[in-house]
Structure formats: C-alpha cells, structure tokens
Amino acid sequence: MLDDFFIRALFAGIGVALVTGPLGCFVVWRRLSYFGDTLAHSALLGVTLAYSLEFNIALSVFIISALIALILINLQKRTNLPGDALLGLLAHSSLAVGLVVIGFLSFIRFDVMGLLFGDILAVNVNDIIIIWIGGAIILLVLKFIWKSLFASTVNYELAEAEGLDPDKAKAIFTILMAAIIAISIKMVGLLLITGMLIIPAAMARNISNSPQQMVLFSVIGGLLSVIIGLFTSLEFNTASGPSIIAASLFLFILSLLKIKQSIKLKN
C-alpha cells in the first residue's frame, strides 16, 4: 500500500505544482527560463551553506538565490555583456563554488544526486509545512502584483503610462522566483526545477487561447505531472524529480497532438 513517505511526497508535490503553474506562465511569457536556471543552480550554494552553518535549507536557498538575482541586475547595469552570457556566468560559477564548498565539507555525508534530482524519501512534515505556507504567500503576492506584472509583460510602456508600476512588479517577481526554487528544491532537485516551471506552462500554451486559461491548464498539467510522476517513481523506483518532469513532457507531447488536430480542422 501507499507508504507514509509517499503520502508526504504527494502532499509536497501538489503544493509545489499549485505554485509553479501560474509562476511558470510568467517564466514562459517573460522569457525567463535561463534566469530560472541560473537561480536554481545557485541554490546548490545555498544548500551547502545551510549544511555548513546548520541553517534552514529553504531559507538559505532563498537568500542565496535572491542575492544572485540582485547581482545579476547589478551586472546588467554595469557591464556591456549580453544577458545570456551573464546568466551563464552566474549559473556555472555559483554551481562550481557550491561544489567546491561541498568538497570542503567532507565531514558531512551529502546526497548530491538527491540535491540535483530531488528525493521524495527526504521530504518530511517540516518541508510540507514550508511548501504550503511559502506557496500560499507566493500566490498571494503574485495575485497582488498580477495586474502590473501582466500588463508590463504585454507592453511595458502602456503599463507605465497608465499608472501601473512595472518596475516594482518585476523586482517582486524576481523574489518570488527565488522563493519557489527554495521551497521546491527537495522535491524536484535543482537541475529540474526550471522544467517544472516551464514544461506545464508550455503544454498549457498549446491548448489555451486566453491568459487565464493558460494559467489554469498549467496548474492542472503540473498537478497531473506530480501525481503520475510520483506513482511511476514508486512503481519503478526511479528518482522523483526526473519522473515528474518526464510525466510533464508526456503531457506536453499530448498537447502537440491537439495542435496538429486543430491545424487539420482549419485546412
């Protein structure tokens, strides 16, 4: 039968999917997938610092990711390097520094694979509480900045001219990205978090024709991916993160079939 650890993982996964759905839509709309990757890579440094200082992992990851986001914004202003180069620079250097720090922490046993790809066995009740409370806060804040963020995603100048505050919304959204990575790192693993954000949203884009619809489908897609992924993980003893992402890929492929159909109908 279903074991305790599995129920815990399911609870945690559902909590994560409810938040990555709407956030992922913005990642797709604003073309932030590499930005998400960079923050996720930097999370490794956050985790190692948490271990070495005996600090809460989610909080530590959140702080480091937010810090990396700040550094990125600063570098964008100071240098003439293109955005993708800066993202790569920060992603790989923070990953490298994180791994080097792990090397120094030889006295602690590290499950590096679990960090990279997620580990459902590691999810405890504390993590679930962090995911659900953190997730609720993220969604509340997102609802609060939604109008400004969405309008400026469509067109910055319209939003700015008509009394909204796009710059503030963007800054807050960056913090939300750091927060979602912090709460979902144990479930999905840092190499695959961006996949959890992008793939359900991309699937939703294929089958929706309004922003609200896309958010809804993205949430549903994320939930299905978590449920299918976790059951597969239990059945075949595969790592949880990759199983969830593979499930979302499967849904994405299904959504492509729908596009093909509607193109046929048009002709």
């Binding site: 319209l158 700015e160 001219a161 008509e162 309004s210 896309m214």
Partner: protein, 248 residues
C-alpha cells in the same frame, strides 16, 4: 481657474537626453480638460519623446512634469507585443484596468471593431489592431488621452471617421487629448492648440497662428500654410545638424 480648464499635465522646459544626445529639450506645454493639443514636426523631432515625458515613461528628464491625473489612456506609436501570450482582443482591453464586458463592447463598437472581440490579438491586421488600440485607450474613460499617431495604417475613410471620433470623445468625456499627427488638415481643423517641434518648440499657438508662422512653413513647405499666410514673423535662428540651434 474654473473647473472647465483644469490642467491635466504640464511640462516646464522639459527635455530628455539619450547617450548624450538630446532627443528633445526645452518643451513647455500644458493639456487642459476638454482641449486637444497637437504635436507636429518632422521625423525625429521629438514628438513621441515629448509624449513619453508627459506620460512619465521617461524618468530621468530635464525640467519638470506635473501630472494632475492618473486616469490616462495611451496609444503608443510603436507597440511590439510578444505572441508567446495567448491574448484575445477582450483580454487586451482590460489590460491596465478591469472593465465590464458591456464597456468593452461599447468601446469596440465606437471604432467599428466589435466583431473582433473574441479574436486572438495576433490575428489582426495592422489597421484593425490600431482601432483596437484606440478603443482600449478610450474604454476606461480617461481624463487624459495621449494618442501617438492613432490612425496609422487605417484606411482612408476610416481615418476621417476616427479623427471625428477623437474630436467627439474629447467633447463627450470632456478629457484632454495630447495628439501626435502627421495629417496637417486634421490638425488644423480639430485642434485647439498646436505645438510645432523640431528638437525644441519651434512655434506654438492656435492652428491659425501656427499656419502663419514662418518656421512652420520652413518645416512643412509653403503649401501647408498657403491658406493663411498673411502674417510672418522673423525667424531668429537656423537649424544645424543634430537639432542644434544657431542664432542669426
């Protein structure tokens, strides 16, 4: 000052510099309730820049901008919309302010594009999109409308109808309009105040005054003002390249 001519936005010798090059400088103007102020001038003369200064899109500016309203509708000259967004016309209509479905329909009917309400924004033609942009700007019943070439790409008969609509809106809503237009006929017939720009304010005043102005003629040619060219004033400066001004 009565309520009739409440000032909505006021520029006091405002200017904007991008990479050490002045796009426009020393612009003073004001838009009052119920009045249409039109900016004219050749390409690159700073018309759109002036509009963006007035709207607060450009923040690091020279001089001062005083805004007395937050109910603003804006039709930008260039708009690039990212098609990674699934966006229908009716979603776009309530982009910056939530509107009732009825309000959206009314606004779309005014510009003659009600049939496009459920269409995807990416499927519209240039002229159709322009009409939707104008609908969106007026739908929230703004106090100040900033229209940067609002009828570009619209067919000839539509153009006349839309300018009539703009004039009507300014009367119905009693809102102030800052209009940028290339159509001098329209400008001269439907405007209360004209500001002629060429990197700075060349001349300004009522349409008749401006048409008589020598700088205006220098910019737009003799034909543009042939109807009313009785009065001429002495042109006290000439324009060199990069918008610099040389006194005679």
């Amino acid at each position: 000052m009565g309520l009739e001519n409440k000032i909505l936005v006021k520029l006091k010798s405002a200017g904007f510099r991008l990479n050490d090059k002045w796009l426009v400088q020393g612009v003073s103007l004001q838009v009052e309730k119920g009045k249409i102020v039109t900016l004219i001038g050749p390409n690159g003369s700073g018309k759109s820049t002036t509009a963006k200064i007035a709207l607060g899109i450009y923040k690091k500016i020279d001089g001062e901008v005083e805004k007395y309203t937050n109910k603003i509708g804006y039709v930008p000259q260039k708009i690039s919309i990212d098609w990674t967004l699934p966006l229908r016309v009716k979603d776009f209509m309530s982009l910056t302010e939530n509107l009732e479905d009825k309000t959206i329909s009314e606004a779309l009917s005014l510009t003659g594009v009600i049939h496009l309400k459920d269409k995807n924004l990416g499927d519209l033609s240039g002229g159709e999109f322009q009409r939707v942009l104008l609908s969106r700007a007026i739908s929230k019943k703004p106090e100040l409308l900033v229209l940067d070439e609002p009828v570009q790409g619209v067919d000839f008969t539509g153009e006349i109808a839309l300018y009539e609509l703009i004039k009507k809106i300014s009367e119905d809503l009693n809102c102030g309009i800052l209009l940028i237009s290339h159509d001098l006929h329209t400008v001269m017939s439907a405007t209360d105040h004209v500001v002629c720009l060429n990197g700075h304010v060349c001349c300004s005043g009522s349409p008749i005054d401006v048409a008589k102005n020598r700088e205006y003629k220098a910019l737009f040619g003799e034909q543009a003002s042939q109807t009313l060219s009785i009065y001429e004033h002495k042109h006290d400066h000439i324009h060199t390249s990069e918008g610099k001004i040389k006194k005679n």
